[in-house]
Amino acid sequence: MKFISSDAIPELLEALSASSVVWAPRELTGSGGTVMFERWRTGDPIDLEHFSSLSAKDVVLPRTEKLFGYTYAFGGGLGGAFGNGAPAGEQLVIEPAEPAPPAVLFGARACDAKALDVLDALFNNPEGEAYNDPQYQSRRKSLTVITLACTTCDEACFCSSFGNGTSEKAGSDIIVYPVEGGLLAEAVSSRGEALLAEPIFEESEQAPPPLAETARIEGLERLEEKLPRLFDDMDFWQEISERCTSCGFCTYGCPTCYCFNIHDEMRSDREGERQRSWDACMFALYTQETSGHNPRPTLAHRYRNRINHKFSYYPENQGKILCTGCGRCIRGCPAGLDIRDVLRAALEEAPREP
């Protein structure tokens, strides 16, 4: 084990900032106690006490990112309904986005780090095997994850339902444990080891503190088989989703919800960029077709997709449950909906005869 004193943490973040973007949890001013992962700049306070309202997924899946820029070059006249179809002879130039700089995620929890491991299954495939996401990959490959072990938890936490709970190491490079006067640090990857070799970390014989034990729901892996059998039971989906008001917080706060929108933003009628932004399956417009037809026309349909995607489709396709039990969707739901009630109900529900 290594040790770093609380006083030395800003110094560490400062050193890391020289070559990387550093993300750390911070309470935002005038926000009623909202803690978010923000880009750390010299002098910024960090909050290692409270749970962040949103996950740290921005580090690999930014809220909005540029996919590429485009320019219609040479020539004068405008073509197309929006003036974008370039007239004959004009060049269309498509410029890739610049690669993101290396990043360090400091103070994520085990549930945040594990989420990266879960997302890797879809976004970070070996070359040639499936479609890959180069933006995700370049961010992920140059990311160092320093995870803050949870010595306390709250009533919304249920990471123990997903294997190792608070002692989960997947997705982390270094685990830090809060102790008197600072943090104990343990490397769990070679990248972590290299960082801990820096002189700012002292050798320590101290034992790490006991970790929190969070609530556990047994048998969530059974939902992969069970949910498809509940699919057509609309009364069930109606009932469990009736509190919901159809906002997108549960997906946007979630460390594993990754669905996105692709949209064009014009700087002028000749140039602009294509961007990718977070999108949410809880929005009606998400699957709305131009004809007006919507395959998921009601809230219950959308909620059904969200639960199925996390606990049945993703496990079937990627071998991992798309949830790490971080509890953010529970803490932040404006309507007081608790996904655990839904999961328990689904586990207990006997499929009705059609």
Partner: protein
């Protein structure tokens, strides 16, 4: 059996559905609940954690008879929905409850941990057994409530913010909002929690045609989005504060609404949600002359 439960059971006989609360949320706080039977209704409660404005569900249920438990500010939303002919007066049965100062449960939990046990006897407020400052955890809308003058008003951090905002000049306000909106994630919780935002999937904050806002999640788009929303609620906002309560990143949206509500009151002598027969000022055309200001 409480009076509330028997009231709900009575209304159930007429409607078959009543929107209320039960103590099914974490730590024993209230969560919205739909009651269909007299037996289900026995779980109904009303206390200072019944923060949600259940009127948000009425436009979605407009085809059917429904009973609803409502606080004074929730009732204003119902009145405004009736005034706008969004819901049918005959189909909605309101069970009015006298509200205490409602608690800002989200902030309590942010400070004390989610699910921390809240005990409120109307006087002292305890969280996990520890006595806490009530004013710090009272909903801002209650502190400024016209129906029910508050005792806690002087100590409120949120009202201090409101006062600070009043004396800002335009440039300072701009900077203030830029910073606030920089954390907006466009989850639309503000819109979905608002009883008056019933445009649903044709809301122009999101549609591609017309394309009023871009698709990006950044301070500029968030600002544009909120300007649209605030303007669309001019003379319609009943100040229930749900947008601000629902915001997962704590943007003080009611500062904008309060400012606008004040302007509407000064200009039109109108408060939304007071008179079901009223014609909302910005939904009314009064054509004089040729419309170009010429005689």
């Amino acid at each position: 059996m409480s009076e509330l439960v028997s009231d709900i059971q009575k209304i159930l006989g007429e409607t078959g559905l009543v929107l209320g609360w039960a103590a099914t949320g974490a730590g024993g706080v209230a969560a919205p609940e739909r009651f269909h039977t007299a037996e289900e209704a026995e779980a109904a409660i009303f206390d200072s954690t019944c923060v949600h404005n259940l009127a948000v569900h009425l436009p979605r249920l407009k085809a059917r008879a429904v009973g609803i438990v409502a606080k004074a500010c929730d009732a204003r939303s119902i009145v405004e929905l009736i005034a706008e002919h969004e819901i049918d007066r005959e189909l909605v049965k309101v069970i009015a409850v006298t509200c205490p100062e409602m608690l800002d449960v989200k902030t309590i939990w942010r400070r004390h941990g989610y699910g921390a046990v809240i005990e409120d006897d109307g006087g002292e407020l305890r969280v996990n057994g520890e006595l806490v400052d009530r004013a710090a955890y009272t909903q801002a809308k209650c502190l400024g409530c016209e129906e029910r003058p508050s005792a806690s008003i002087s100590a409120s951090v949120r009202l201090q913010l409101s006062e600070d905002f009043q004396i800002m000049n335009v440039e300072e306000r701009r900077t203030f909002w830029r910073e606030q909106f920089s954390r907006c994630i466009r989850c639309h919780a503000c819109r979905e929690a608002c009883p008056m935002c019933y445009c649903r999937d044709v809301c122009i904050m999101q549609t591609s045609d017309p394309h009023w806002t871009g698709g990006g999640i950044n301070a500029g788009e968030a600002e544009m989005m909120q300007m649209i929303r605030v303007n669309h609620l001019a003379g319609r906002c009943t100040a229930c504060g749900e947008c601000e309560r629902a915001c997962p990143v704590g943007i003080p949206l009611m500062l904008l609404m309060e400012e606008q509500n004040r302007a509407i009151y000064e200009m039109f002598d109108y408060r939304a949600g007071v008179d079901p027969e009223a014609k909302p000022p910005l939904l009314t055309f009064d054509i004089k002359g040729d419309g170009w200001g010429e005689e």
